[in-house]
Subunit: 130 residues, 2 copies
């Protein structure tokens, strides 16, 4: 199961934490429509290597353009087009910044998933593990 | 059928015209989730009367908050919350401006629907009407 699918199954109190760090720097639509592709890229390395960051930025736009052209729903297509232009303008000169934003978001998601998983364990299980 | 439903049934060339004038001043999500309510308000009068514009602005936020709380989909709820804050900040001091933006959008939609309807009529029907 993708990390994003796991996130969506969390309780509302954890979802609110996810809600908090998704904004125009990394719109949640992108996270959702490109979930698997995003999770398969090495954003950590890219956030420190401009050449890889540039390749990922360009591939990101190609993937997003494909999603736009395949989208049948008028509102969804409108939103994806708007986000395409927004991302293009925002990160064209700073692909390292985009890589860092995505890397941080994915890391933050993993932290929330881990916290949620810990809290799901009952006190007895926790004491047996310690 | 609501005006917004009619819009969504237009050919792609007309949809692109609609696409063009929906932006952050009046996000298309709002147009969609509050279609009937929006179409039942007198935005034309409100765009010239600050007291009515203020009432509509406040009611708009109440309706939008209700939509947020009822929305089950995580991404949609996230988007509606983001838009709620965006609209609140943008038009709190200028409800007349919001009324004018909505009034213009609805008028523009009617113009596009009317053009599309004219173009659907065949040349023979048009010549018989003239």
């Amino acid at each position: 199961m993708s990390q994003w699918k796991q996130i969506q199954q969390l309780d509302i109190k954890f979802l609110e934490q996810v809600d908090y760090f998704y904004d125009d720097n990394f719109p949640m639509e992108l996270r959702q429509v490109m979930a698997t592709w995003i999770e398969n890229q090495d954003w950590e390395t890219a956030s420190n290597h401009e050449s890889l960051a540039t390749v990922l930025f360009n591939n990101f736009l190609i993937q997003l353009e494909r999603q736009c052209s395949q989208e049948q729903n008028f509102l969804q297509r409108h939103n994806l087009k708007r986000i395409f232009h927004q991302i293009q303008v925002k990160y064209k000169a700073t692909p390292l910044h985009m890589a860092a934003v995505i890397c941080t978001s994915l890391r933050e998601e993993r932290r929330i998933l881990s916290t949620a998983s810990m809290q799901e364990q009952g006190p007895l299980e926790k004491s047996m593990q310690s």
